[in-house]
């Protein structure tokens, strides 16, 4: 079953499973317990801490384990706000942050007297450091949140430049690296990041664990109180097995980075995917700028920086130093595309019928697809947002997955082929007003009904979406 939804959740890496199994089979022990079993569990946790720290250039002692990326973002935003006096609770977030950041900031506004400004992004979803600088209120701004790379469109952010601005204003920088953690260049030290959020399952570890990496000297108030684990910043018994899986996944991601899997392999696969989709739908539009690709064919919207095209973001510079995150370093496995005239919901249903997994805009609690705040912040209209599909590749993706996805998209597009001129541009296939057309009358006599099902009909039907 072709799985192209790594940005939602990556399949468990074999290394992670192998690290978890012994801890699940062994008698349960609390890593805080002072007996042999407890020490063994504690050892597994501390190994994981080292592995996670190594992935993002931090010291093991900086890693605070949480229940996931969302809790890490919440701890960073709320925990920082609560250290500040009421007049110094100003927040600046990029408009394309994950809801874990934006909604935590909204809580701080509503319940902790904070005020929040959103830093605008350009058409590709990138923060302009100059425009962000204008929002800073030196001495009052507590925290600036700019993610490493966006989860919906893959665009990388100028984190190091923003960190410098934040520090000048006396604020700390939160970098949500949940998507980008496995990439070259995401580095606590080089980028000047004070707080960095991670999620295990995006790296191929289990769900239910993540981390907030806290630069030494950064003040933070805990949100979860109890046994005082994680230096008092996050109480609760540590899930040793899950953390072992997280650590193993981080180590495997780091190994992939060194072998070039994360950049070269993924961006090559993505090139195949894009080429296949373009052949099927020449009118497709790419959202955002998820970074360069080896072949040079990937030039988002025709507007990307030509100087970046064809260059793979390097891990190290000529002197062997880690390079800071640059705007070029987007997510190499992510492709957000709009198929004009086709509702993402409809495409996803048809792809699902072929066993192909991918995503539309952000999903809300009820499971419905609602227009993404990221695409809207990029200036895309709500129709474009509703016609956007996100494909995301990762550690176990293969050329066969990509080929199967392209085939399924071709079949889906055939079913959904819009009749010329009859397309409802609001993306509403259901209740167009006065936009009906003869093509919309697909229930005309002669079409096989349920009484005479035609096995080829699904692929052969060329219904007008009508209104």
């Amino acid at each position: 079953m072709p799985y192209l939804d790594y940005a939602a959740s990556a399949p468990l890496r074999p290394e992670a499973l192998a690290a978890m199994l012994p801890l699940l089979e062994r008698p349960a022990a609390n890593p805080s317990s002072q007996h042999g079993q407890g020490r063994a569990a504690r050892a597994a946790v501390e190994t994981a801490r080292e592995q996670v720290a190594a992935l993002i250039g931090a010291a093991p002692g900086d890693v605070v384990f949480t229940s996931g990326g969302t809790e890490a973002d919440n701890l960073a935003v709320k925990g920082t706000v609560l250290t500040r006096p009421p007049e110094a609770r100003h927040l600046v977030c990029s408009a394309v942050e994950h809801h874990a950041v934006l909604d935590a900031a909204a809580w701080a506004e509503a319940d902790a007297g904070a005020r929040t400004d959103l830093a605008p992004v350009d058409r590709l979803g990138r923060v302009d450091p100059d425009r962000l600088a204008a929002l800073l209120d030196p001495g009052h701004t507590a925290l600036v949140a700019v993610m490493a790379a966006n989860n919906e469109v893959g665009t990388g952010q100028p984190v190091a430049a923003v960190a410098e601005l934040a520090h000048t204003a006396g604020a700390v920088l939160l970098c949500d690296a949940v998507q980008a953690a496995g990439l070259p260049g995401v580095d606590m030290t080089a980028d000047g990041i004070d707080l960095l959020a991670l999620a295990s399952h995006k790296l191929g570890g289990p769900t239910g664990v993540g981390a907030l990496v806290v630069r030494p000297g950064t003040s933070l108030r805990p949100l979860v109180h109890g046994g005082g684990q994680e230096r008092g910043l996050r109480s609760g018994t540590l899930p040793a097995a899950a953390l072992a899986g997280f650590g193993a996944a981080a180590a495997a991601a780091l190994a992939d980075r060194h072998t070039g899997t994360t950049t070269t392999t993924l961006s090559t696969l993505r090139s195949h995917l894009l080429a296949g989709l373009r052949a099927l739908a020449p009118d497709l539009e790419i959202n955002g700028d998820p970074g360069p690709e080896p072949g040079g064919a990937f030039n988002p919207d025709g507007s990307g920086d030509p100087g970046l095209v064809g260059r793979v973001a390097p891990d190290l510079d000529a002197d062997g130093r880690r390079l800071p995150l640059t705007p070029a370093a987007g997510l190499p496995g992510l492709l957000s595309v709009r198929f004009p005239g086709r509702r993402a919901e409809d495409l996803l249903l048809l792809l699902d019928r072929h066993g192909v997994a991918c995503s539309a805009g952000s999903a809300c609690a009820s499971g419905a697809v609602t227009p993404s705040h990221v695409l809207v912040a990029m200036g895309r209209d709500p129709v474009a947002a509703r016609e956007t599909v996100r494909f995301s590749l990762g550690h176990a993706s293969t050329r066969a997955d990509v080929d199967a996805a392209v085939t399924a998209v071709g079949q889906a597009l055939e079913v959904l082929a819009p009749a010329d001129g009859s397309l409802d541009r609001r993306g509403s296939a259901a209740v167009g007003r006065g936009e009906g057309s003869e093509e919309g009358r697909r229930t005309a006599p002669g079409r096989p009904g349920p009484g005479s099902p035609d096995p080829h009909r699904v692929a052969a039907a060329r219904p007008g979406v009508g209104g």
Partner: protein
Amino acid sequence: MTAPQVLVAMSGGVDSSVAAALAVEAGWDVTGVHLKLADTPGHLQVQGKGCCTLADADDARRVAGTLGVPFYVWDMAEEFQRAVVDDFAAEYAGGRTPNPCARCNEQVKVVGLLARARALGFDALVTGHYARVEGGRLYRGADAAKDQSYVLYMLGPAELEHLRLPLGGLSKPEVRATAARLGLRTAAKPESYDVCFVPDGDTAGWLERRFGPRPGQVVDTAGRVLGHHRGAYRYTVGQRRGLGIAAPTPRYVLRVEPAAGRVVVGERAELAITTIELEQATATDGRPLRPGRAKVRLRAHGTEVGCRVVPLDPVPPGGPAGPRGGIPARRPGGRVRLELDEPVDAVAPGQAGVLYDGDLVLGGGTVSTTSRGGDLLTR
């Protein structure tokens, strides 16, 4: 032979759960879809009140899981807001009494969803309505107390050909028993009766929050001012309560004149009407409504009265029903006059008038005017 591919509209209630289960039992290739029709934040939702709460979506998802069928949630809140909620408010503001359920079926749940299902290659749409489709015609459901044919009158042959209503031959107790037999978690779920987007049932309050106060006069048929009101949209024909006037005998709303801000009241006997005119009238066989005898129903569970059907318009060019796939806001339909065998009380413009021949639904339309003995009462 390949099983027909059907899309089942799953609200999360017991009826659509059982409809999905029966579709699976029939051997059809079933896909479930739940329509998210409102954007009410989760913490403001009350379970069992209105539709489209998170709990309803969860119930539908769990039932789909029990049945082993794929399940999706489609956000049609925008369409619902425009076609149903805004229309509901505008109708009241215009002095009419709308039927939002008929409107929702017409624009979103049945006709709209069917068009989308067909566009996705499905053979048919399955819903949990209590009505029957046989030989391409629409009939009342077997359970007279639950019959929902009234809200489906606008369907034509193009829709009926691709609509499957598995509950049409069942009674409500049979449906609940089926749900229990199959272990569906919705088996004992309570009914919802309210207008789903007015969960507290206070339509007048809902309208007032939307429009603000629009004070005006309560007058009798001679134009004498009897009192004052906060907004004509708070009144509907036949209403007795909330008039705020003192009179020796009960007074009823005879008509609402929103332009003048006037609510006209009178004696109960004055509510009786003998002639009704329908607009946007369509027939379930897709042909123009023909002159003849029928029974008309004016409320979802009201009584029926015999009538003579008199079509008033020539057949519009291009067929009587207009384009079905595109679903314009108000589908072109004809006007017909209904001459009632006996007077009927309190019929409000905006209500649906549905024509029956026995159990067969002939068609119907929206009440535009009513009159008694040639005197136009409401327009």
